[in-house]
Amino acid sequence: MDFSELSHQSEIRDSLDKIFNEHCSQERLKKYDSNFKHDKNLLSLLASKGYLGLGLNEKYGGSGEDLYDLGILFERLGYHATPLSLSGCLVDVAQTIQKFSNEEFCNEILGSIIAGEIYTSAILEPSNQDPENPITTAKIEDDQLIISGTKYLSEISSIAKSILISANSNEGVLLILVDTDQVKLTELNSTANSPLFKVKLDSVRVDRESIIHEKGRGLEALRYLIQINMVMRSYIALGVTEKMTSLIAGYTSEREQFGRVIGTFQAVSHRAADCFIELECLRLVNQQAAINLNTNLDCENQALVSKIWAGNACHKISYSAQHLHGGMGVDKDYVLWRYCLLAKECELINGSSSQNIDRLGENLTTNQ
């Protein structure tokens, strides 16, 4: 096995860092603490430089179907706490369509996503523990579908052209692309001020052609969507925890108490080291899951392992960082606090560690 990064991958990382360093300064981020957290200029810049085509096939204008590359984008989005929520668009919609839709869909939608058009997904439902089995229903009437249900935690839906919805029907699970003006949106107020919405579908009528996959492959497509979302969300978590760990290293190497820098106290350096270990584990399980999802459409156990590590790392590193910074860690004039909120969001959305441990245990003991 070769763990070294290819040269084009380090180039992606470096150029993204250059862009984000310029666009995500403290002053800029402050603007989005209480406003709609979406930097449209930054999104256009990413589009113009081709970064929205990461993980997408060259024939649609992308830079190649490698999820490892897409992972780098999400890791750096997390590391810089960028005011962009792109997993609904670039992961759920783009990747699922690329793998499960016909050429027509791919050409139309992937092309416009690469150019900066926003799409999003609405998969999760309040008080539904199992996103593979949506409560939302689609009634099939001749060539039309009538969709009803409530979704939530859908990203940047208010500025999305259309929303990918999961629903149950008498043909099984369906993934359907619905125009945003056909649904009712309510903005939710969530811990990291991310632009998340409740999506209400009240007998929404769409053509049968809005189903993005072949007949009978809906559940497979939805399972893939959920898994790749877990993995890419874990990449955001990787960036978030990596930044927190580097803040720990920086602060404890400068702050002096008892006449020495506090990083020289064993209790402090050991706790920082534990964060580093956690981070390395998370990085590796993410890379494994991303690489395998390139060629295998069902890697549930590897996706679960990623998300379990992500949830644990987010929790442990967030509180270690706050603790080792003392009061600075919670002061809103310092940088750390935004990452702590993002960490909780990454930890809980699309399955918590306890929930996923339970599911993994179930898989390991029954899929023999």
Binding site: S127, N189, F258, H323, L341, S353
Partner: protein, 310 residues
Amino acid sequence: MRTGFPFPFLTTESVGPMIAEHGSEWAKEEIATKILKGELIFGIGYSEPNSGTDLASLQTKAIKQTDGYLINGQKMWTSLANFSDYIWLATRTDFEAKNHKGISMFIVPTDDPGFSMSAINTLGDVRTNATFYDNIHVPETHLVGELNQGWSLITSQLNLERLALVNHGPVEELYKDVLETAQSTKINKDQYLSDLSWVKHNLAQVHSGIEALKLICWKQTCIMESGQLNMAEASVAKVYGSEFFIEAFRLMMEIMGELSILKNGSELTILNARLERMYRTASILTFGGGTNEVQRDIISMAGLLMPRSR
């Protein structure tokens, strides 16, 4: 505290008893009495920009004058200063003596023109303050305890504070509500959230943690009633309680799932968004009131009689 009432427990449970025991006649009559009546609130002025965990290095000074003391300096994290009548202030009064031996405690009025503050907003949406002391003159009666003997007042106060910080009431109340919600939330036709094995596991972990915390708190109360306070045990309560809160909020947020990241005022919130607020405030206790590394030092020295770590 169980009901969520913002009770000024640091004033009543930790500063008040110190003043009642060591204050001047004026302080005992005027201050302690009013604290008991609920008419006074104190902020605690210990930390400074360069003196946090190493508190004994503090530099705020009180200089003896003919008719009292002149105070100058800056404090950090002076919580409640914006509501307080007085600051319980740690100052340096002997500049020649070793760090711990030159500290004295004063009662400083916040309505003095030399007093000012600036707000510090925090992750948990709790405001704290930087406070500034510019040529504040206080009479002799505002000195608490003997001159240069302040360090023992600080450590005694902190022992009381540490216990007050980890009161088990609020977390137990929250646990009951989470349990009840899990038992009444249907996840499908014939199952409730509480039927899931991992939910049971999380609930059991929180429950067993609360049992231990409750007993630690009760035992400490009992020891305090008999007029003693064991340093090691106060530190055990503080380390265990503060680290348990963080785990407990996490386990309960997992049970309530993604709904628990929704903030007060949003649609779809659960349990009045209490979990969303509490997880953000949880970290303060692992370093506030004496960082847990120092508490562990105290436990190994005072509880296990091991040599001082360096």
